[in-house]
């Protein structure tokens, strides 16, 4: 198993130019999820703050219904993509497990984490090359984004179960969530609040990948397209 992934700590990697990191299912998942979450955020906000009213007969419109339908479709898409992603964590390469397994008992990982933090604080220029995620990115993905995504799916399907009704699959699997929060309105509130956690992640994540692409010696953005991390030295 991959404990830490700075390329430099392994002497064999001295002249490494590229590694295949993100297998196709991971890449596909990433971009499907990107679209789903973008849709979820936009439609979620519209659910919270509906657009101005339509005119005419109610039967002639389904505007809010479509907004919610888009949200639920994207919600299902997100959930299915995550199921496949989890499956892939079992059968895929080492990098496919980085999202779920963080080597927090590994001293080197922590050293690299601190090293990363310092470089982001402009205390030094980063010299280490990483094959998969750098430790900070990995921590943010595993401890911030992944739990938030699950939180959204659990609370989302719990709310979805209220419409689907008692006895529906979502009620059977997620119905218990409502009383856990107190009542349905609380679930809405927390679901809504956690959206912002995801928004924050996305802001930082997008910035970071672009920045890394420009400032470090590894390829970043293209890696999620081609799967290959290339090194410029």
């Amino acid at each position: 198993m991959l404990l830490h992934n700075s390329v430099d700590t392994d002497p064999r990697n001295k002249d490494l130019k590229s590694i295949y990191i993100y297998e196709a299912p991971v890449r596909l998942w990433h971009w499907v999820m990107f679209i789903a979450i973008a849709v979820l955020i936009v439609t979620g906000l519209l659910i919270a703050y509906p657009p101005p009213s339509t005119n005419g007969e109610a039967s002639a419109h389904f505007m809010f219904g479509y907004i919610r339908f888009a949200h639920f479709t994207a919600g299902y898409t997100l959930a299915v993509s995550w199921l496949l992603r989890i499956y892939w964590a079992f059968v895929g390469n080492d990098y496919s497990r980085q999202l779920f397994l963080v080597p927090i008992f590994n001293r080197i990982w922590w050293q690299e984490f601190l090293y990363d933090v310092k470089s982001y604080l402009f205390l030094h220029v980063r010299e280490i090359k990483y094959s998969g995620h750098n430790p900070m990115a990995q921590a943010a993905m595993a401890f911030m984004f992944t739990p938030a995504a699950f939180f959204m799916m659990i609370t989302g399907f719990a709310m979805y179960s209220e419409g689907a009704g008692k006895g529906s699959w979502s009620d059977k699997v997620f119905g218990w969530v409502i009383p856990l929060f107190g009542q349905s309105q609380d679930v809405h509130t927390w679901h809504h609040l956690c959206m912002w956690v995801i928004v924050m992640f996305v802001i930082v994540h997008t910035y970071m990948v672009m920045r890394q692409d420009v400032t470090t010696r590894e390829s970043i953005v293209s890696t999620m397209v081609s799967g290959y991390r290339t090194f410029k030295d």
């Binding site: 703050y49 509906p50 101005p52 109610a58 008692k166 009542q183 912002w196």
Partner: protein, 363 residues
């Protein structure tokens, strides 16, 4: 002894329509025709079940609601279907004579009476925020619950705590399931519950001699299984995206959806949009005001009744998800912008001098 059947007969109902009533009851409860004769038999023969109705911290509007029941009529429930042996709001005797009614009923019907609780016990100040007979109400509640067959929690007070338990809950009022642990408790929430829902819960227990099926939160599924929103007649407007935008606007006059006015129908489990209130005349939404979620746990502390995105108690009364999350996201974005700026600056400096990175190429 008068039975349910006697009541109906006395109201001029024939045996034939009585049997029809039984089969209708059976069908409406989803039991099928097989149950009709059993219902009839039960109604014809059973003596009246004693009920003790206690009052804690409350506003007595659950009692007020109860007496408004149109089917069955409250008077028939109280005088003919069950035996209301103790209820301070209605009983003739007072003081020692009233206390004697309580003691006698408990002694005579040990394990066979129903305890109905309206309001709830405060725990602060040794319970002396609600004193009955010179003692804390919570003592009386526990004493009567001990020998009860089953307990009904009327309204939001007994079920969840209601207004007196709203922040900061100065008396430490608690729902009754926080002090009664060993009895089945049927929660019939609402502030107050609908009269006909109250009497239906009681008649269910008398008719079928069993407790209604309860949901995860202890409420009868038959009335609390769906949200107001699931069967709201304004739902087509919701789906169409037709909302009341401000009070008394064009949409309000056309009966558009009250979602934007803070309607809590989407998060409230109750029978209002179907059973409706006061013999089916209307319900909150039907008269232009959003649902305030009065049958939900802690509905007082979810922020303003007029907010769609409600407040978060944990962060103080002011905050809501967008205030907190939006601020954090804005701070994040600003942080990113600053970071990007510094990055650019640093890189410019490095490029100017010896370069950036191992090879000094700047990449």
């Amino acid at each position: 002894m008068e039975t349910f059947y006697d009541v109906l007969r006395r109201q001029g109902i024939t045996r034939r329509s009585f049997l029809k009533f039984c089969s209708l009851t059976a069908t409406s409860l989803g039991l099928g025709s097989y149950f009709a004769p059993r219902i009839a038999h039960a109604l014809e023969t059973k003596p009246r079940t004693p009920v003790i109705w206690l009052h804690g911290l409350e506003c007595t509007c659950c009692s007020e609601s109860f007496i408004r029941s149109a089917h069955p009529l409250a008077k028939d429930v109280v005088l003919s279907m069950l035996s209301l042996d103790y209820d301070d709001t209605l009983m003739a005797s007072a003081g020692l004579q009233a206390q004697a009614c309580l003691d006698e009923t408990i002694a005579k019907y040990k394990g066979n009476y129903i305890l109905a609780v309206e309001g709830n016990p405060p725990l602060n100040e040794d319970g002396m925020y609600c004193i009955t007979g010179g003692k804390p109400f919570v003592e009386e509640l526990k004493r009567v619950a001990k020998d009860a067959k089953a307990v009904i929690a009327w309204g939001a007070c007994a079920s969840w705590g209601c207004v007196q338990a709203a922040k900061p809950n100065p008396t430490h009022a608690v729902p009754i399931d926080k002090v009664i642990f060993d009895k089945p408790i049927i929660k019939v929430p609402g502030c107050p519950p609908i009269a006909e829902v109250m009497t239906a819960v009681v008649t269910y227990m008398l008719t079928f001699d069993r407790l209604p099926e309860l949901d995860r939160q202890g409420r009868p599924k038959m009335f609390y299984g769906q949200r107001i929103h699931d069967k709201c007649y304004r739902r087509p407007h919701f789906d169409a995206g037709q909302f009341v935008e401000s009070w008394d606007d064009e949409g309000a006059r056309k009966g558009y959806c009250l979602y934007k006015m803070g309607c809590k129908g989407p998060t409230t489990y109750n029978a209002c949009s179907t059973t409706r209130w006061n013999d089916g005349v209307s319900f909150p939404i039907g008269s232009g005001h959003g649902c305030i979620g009065c049958s939900e746990d802690g509905f007082w502390d979810k922020g303003s009744f007029y907010d769609r995105v409600t407040g978060i108690k944990q962060f103080g009364i002011e905050a809501n998800a967008d205030k907190i999350g939006g601020t954090l996201a804005a701070v994040t974005a600003a942080g990113v912008a600053v970071h990007a700026g510094i990055t650019a600056l640093t890189r410019a400096k490095l490029n100017h001098g010896k370069g950036f990175g191992k090879d000094g190429s700047g990449e």
